[in-house]
């Protein structure tokens, strides 16, 4: 199982981890584990978020004021730190999405010329 993961894991483009987290949190506030699971599920396990990158990234987003953190009880009555988007985070997400779109379009043009 570990071997399969390694094989399928794609290198994240620089900066995309922030985008993935912001996008995930735009759906609803979530704790760190949930964010990792969500990204894994949505990408059909193609994108595996390393805990070693996830938590520093979350701290970075907090520092920039794009997300805020709050301790809450989960539906399973477990205490966890939930992250939620701030208005600034929402604006940042919109910017990053359009920047990502431009990047992907540009990369595709290079890789598969029309």
């Amino acid at each position: 199982m570990a071997a399969r993961r390694v094989a399928l894991r794609a290198e994240l483009l620089p900066g995309t981890l922030d985008l993935l987290i912001l996008k995930t949190l735009s759906v609803q506030p979530m704790h760190g584990y949930g964010i990792a699971q969500h990204i894994g599920r949505l990408s059909a396990e193609a994108l595996r978020v390393e805990e070693g990158s996830l938590y520093p990234a979350l701290q970075r987003l907090r520092l920039k004021g794009w997300v805020k953190a709050e301790w809450k009880l989960s539906p399973t009555r477990r205490r966890a730190r939930y992250y939620a988007l701030t208005p600034a985070g929402r604006r940042q997400l919109a910017q990053e999405v359009s920047a990502f779109d431009r990047l992907v379009t540009a990369v595709r043009r290079v890789v598969r010329p029309a």
Partner: protein, 875 residues
């Protein structure tokens, strides 16, 4: 910007942040393990898988921490650790630098404490900036601070509008009776004195108008010191009569501790402003005032000068040529000491600069020696900023160590200074290492640290960091830029040292010249004993003469005593009365134009006991007594002034003193004595015979062949045998009196000498460091030269020439600077011009000699270089 606030919040509450992060990761692990169990994994395998997934928690936490930590701070701890490690590796260098900085920061901080207390801190009075002192001064005289006539004071008080209060005081004494009779000195003050000072008694009451009524008990407000020493700090003493030798007095109040605004006074009593004070008779009062709100000292000065001009018109005989001067009290108190303190501040700043240059030089050398290490670190990827930061950290660590030691040294130094009780420095007892001083010291330390960090970093240009690796180390000698910089530092040090040396030598030679001045008497072996007969018990001339002459005869019987005499005012006691005189037979001088003379009263033995010769005519004899013609002696200055080129013997004069109309015949001329200071030319003086003008206050002058101090008990016993209740006011030797008069010069001289020596040593160390480094760097070159047959002389010239270029440059600059700065020694100098060529030349020679000594050791090492060894080394 906002992110900086968040970072700050993180810094302040790091512990909570970390705990939360740890908790969050633990929960993450639990959730992952739960999920794995749901997927069917065995529980312990699931936990293991979860932990593996999360990986090294510490690393994760560190990565998260890195996000928050302010970027520069992150490596600061590491920089400081490296710096400390580096210093430990070179204990000699670290100790030299730290001690140098300690001396510099310590000395600077100690002096700043003094400057702070004296010049920057306000006087301890309410609204002290509105307090002024008022002087009279005669426009034809050099004395700008003359005492004030009470009559003039009363007129100022009535007419002036610039003052809220204008108070006067004069001297007074209090003969306390009891088991230990003593005379204490105080002031007689006008009723509004405490309003001027803005103070009130801590215990008891102030003066009331009734205190000055005829028949009221003598009311006293005493100093806290007198109250605690003489009256045991007992508040019951207030209101009770205390016994005096005649009658009694009543203590009505006690001033707060430390309140002694006029110097050494022990008590204050009211000065009754009776109408006869309006008669213009003499000038013997001090006047202080508190300015009205809105009035400046200049306004008050202008107003009083106007009033004085009017009084000049109204009382031409007394006031002709007399004006006034209003001086802010702060200026008055620090006035005399200010130039000397500023001078010393300059000297200390120079030493600080020299010390800093030295440490900068040391560091530069040390950094140059580490070029290879730094180059390796650069090659391994350390950025230039990182290296500069490393240098900065090293500088700061050094400065912090030096600063901490320096502050300790400063505290000790200030204690010593206060304990030394230098009379020159007013308010010395208030000097402490205050918070403000500490802030100053810390700021100084930080500045020095920054400078030491940045200077060497900037001296190392980028190419200097790569060069050592591309060539074989040391072969090319050091970077010439850095070498020139070090040389320039040496030049500056030499120049500063020479300035200090010149100043110190000038003051030392001045003091020497001053002590070599002939005071006009022989101080060795003379003891003086001051007495005052109470007027009540010794009324009339007969009793006074009888007492003193009996005492003189009895003391003469003490073994070892060779001469004995009596005088009222000794020389160098800071006070000699003076008045105008007129030669009989010459036209009366215009008002205010009469020549003036000092006057003393002495017995026939006085001049013999002082060792002062009678030059013409005769001395005083016992026959000069009441009922015989009035005679006087005059000094040489008097004879020169009044009878230039003529014989003064037999001339007759009138002196505006006790009996202004008596005609006095001059019977002798006595040699000049320096009465007002060793550096003050003798003024005209007349000597009255004691038997014709008996005084209650006289001083016994006793010359002996033994240690004069040892005579004191025997003399005291003779006095007690005549009058048990008579207090002895003061016993001292003439030599200690002379010593005391030169204290004000000796102290700055001592400090300047210390500073100059310190500067000299520091400069020598600096020069030594540069040359030693040079020889080390050029050992290979020297080896080659030797191998090629260079003579020892040529090698010595090579090394010394390099060093002495900078020294000579420093000497030239220093001499020019000294010519400019020594002018400010002004008042400290005596008998020497500030640009005295001998002193300056000697200073330059001393400096060159010390430099030669410092250069000698490295030069010798250069001569010992063995070509066979140095050439093989890199082979």
């Amino acid at each position: 910007m906002i992110s900086w606030f968040r970072r700050l919040a993180w810094l302040l509450d790091r512990r909570r942040f970390e705990a939360e992060l740890g908790e969050e990761i633990r929960i993450h692990e639990e959730m992952a393990a739960e999920q794995a169990r749901h997927e069917g994994m065995a529980p312990d395998e699931a936990g293991f898988a979860a932990r593996r997934r999360v990986g090294n928690r510490a690393q994760l936490a560190e990565a998260a921490r890195d996000v928050w930590r302010p970027p520069a701070l992150g490596d600061l701890g590491q920089d400081l650790r490296y710096a400390l490690r580096g210093l430990r590796r070179q204990p000699g260098y670290a100790a030299a630098a730290a001690i140098t900085l300690m001396l510099a920061i310590g000395a600077t901080t100690a002096l700043f404490s003094v400057l702070d207390a004296l010049l920057l801190r306000p006087l301890p009075y309410r609204q002290a900036d509105r307090m002024v002192q008022v002087w009279e001064h005669k426009r034809t005289s050099d004395n700008r601070e003359n005492l004030v006539s009470p009559a003039n004071f009363l007129d100022w008080h009535d007419r002036a509008r610039s003052f809220e209060h204008l108070a006067a005081y004069t001297w007074s004494s209090l003969p306390l009776a009891g088991n230990t009779p003593a005379v204490v000195y105080g002031r007689m003050v006008t009723g509004n004195f405490y309003s001027v000072m803005g103070a009130r008694p801590a215990l008891g009451r102030g003066f009331l108008p009734g205190d000055t009524l005829v028949g009221a008990p003598r009311a006293l407000i005493v100093s806290h010191a007198l109250w605690s020493t003489r009256f045991g700090g007992d508040s019951a003493v207030i209101g009770k009569p205390i016994p005096l030798r005649e009658g009694s007095a009543q203590i009505v109040g006690v001033m707060p501790e430390g309140f002694r605004p006029l110097g050494s006074e022990e008590y204050w009593e009211p000065w009754p402003m009776q109408s006869d004070l309006r008669t213009r008779r003499g000038r013997y009062a001090m006047v202080v005032g508190r300015l009205r709100t809105g009035a400046a000292a200049e306004d008050a000065d202008r107003e009083l000068k106007g009033i004085a001009a009017a009084l000049e018109q109204e009382h031409p005989k007394f006031n002709a040529e007399w004006g006034t001067r209003v001086v802010p009290l702060g200026e008055q108190v620090t006035g005399g000491a200010r130039p000397v303190l500023l001078l010393l501040a300059g000297a200390i700043a120079s030493v600080l600069l020299i010390a800093c240059l030295n440490v900068a030089n040391l560091r530069l050398g040390q950094v140059l020696a580490r070029r290879t290490e730094l180059a390796v670190r650069t090659a391994l990827g350390a950025s230039r900023t990182r290296i500069i930061r490393q240098m900065l950290a090293e500088g700061l660590v050094l400065a912090a160590i030096g600063g901490a030691l320096g502050i300790i040294a400063a505290i000790a130094g200030v204690r010593a200074l206060v304990a030394a009780q230098v009379t020159l420095i007013p308010r010395l007892e208030e000097v402490t290492v205050s918070l403000r001083v500490l802030v100053f010291a810390l700021g100084l330390t930080a500045l020095i640290g920054l400078a030491f960090g940045l200077a060497p970093a900037l001296a190392l240009r980028e190419d200097a960091l790569r060069q050592p690796l591309s060539r074989r180390g040391g072969e090319t000698g050091s970077a010439p830029r850095a070498r020139r910089l070090r040389g320039a530092l040496v030049s500056v040090q030499v120049a500063l040292s020479l300035m200090l040396l010149a100043g110190a030598s000038l003051s030392v030679r001045s003091l020497g010249k001053l002590l070599a001045v002939d005071p006009g008497f022989e101080p060795g072996g003379v003891l003086t004993v001051e007495l005052e007969l109470p007027e009540e018990a010794y009324a009339g001339p007969g009793r006074k003469i009888a007492f003193y002459e009996t005492l003189v005869e009895r003391v003469r019987g003490i073994p070892g005593i060779t001469d004995i005499g009596l005088v009222n005012f000794l020389p160098l006691r800071g006070f000699t009365p003076g008045t105008g005189f007129q030669v009989v037979g010459r036209p009366e001088p215009a008002a205010g134009q009469a020549p003036s003379t000092q006057l003393i009263v002495a017995d026939p033995g006085y001049h013999q006991a002082m060792g002062t010769p009678i030059l013409q005519g005769r001395g005083l004899t016992p026959a000069d007594q009441l009922g015989t013609p009035r005679v006087i002696l005059v000094n040489q200055a008097f004879a020169r002034r009044a009878f230039p080129g003529a014989d003064p013997i037999g001339q007759r004069v009138k002196v505006a003193y006790a009996e202004p109309d008596s005609i006095l015949s001059i019977v002798g001329v006595v040699a000049d004595m320096r009465r007002d200071g060793l550096d003050v030319e003798p003024a005209p003086m007349v000597v009255y015979p004691f038997r014709q003008y008996p005084f209650g206050y006289m001083t016994l002058v006793v010359r002996s062949s033994r240690d004069p101090e040892a005579l004191a008990p025997a003399i005291r016993a003779e006095i007690a045998a005549l009058d048990r209740s008579l207090p002895v006011l003061g016993v001292e030797t003439l030599e200690s009196r002379i010593h005391a008069t030169t204290a004000d010069r000796r102290y700055p001289m001592l400090l300047l000498s210390l500073l100059a020596s310190l500067a000299l040593v520091l400069s020598a160390v600096g020069l030594y460091g540069v040359l030693a480094y040079l020889v080390g760097q050029r050992a290979r070159e020297i080896g080659i030269r030797k191998a090629l047959g260079a003579s020892r002389g040529a090698i010595a010239r090579l090394v010394l020439g390099e060093g002495f270029r900078f020294v000579l440059l420093g000497v030239v600059v220093g001499l020019l600077a000294a010519l400019f700065t020594t002018r400010y020694l002004g008042a400290l100098l005596y008998g020497l011009a500030p640009n005295d060529p001998v002193t300056l030349g000697a200073g330059a020679l001393i400096l060159l000699a010390v430099a030669a000594l410092a250069a000698w050791i490295p030069a010798r090492r250069a001569l010992r270089v063995d070509p066979a060894v140095t050439l093989r080394e890199d082979g």
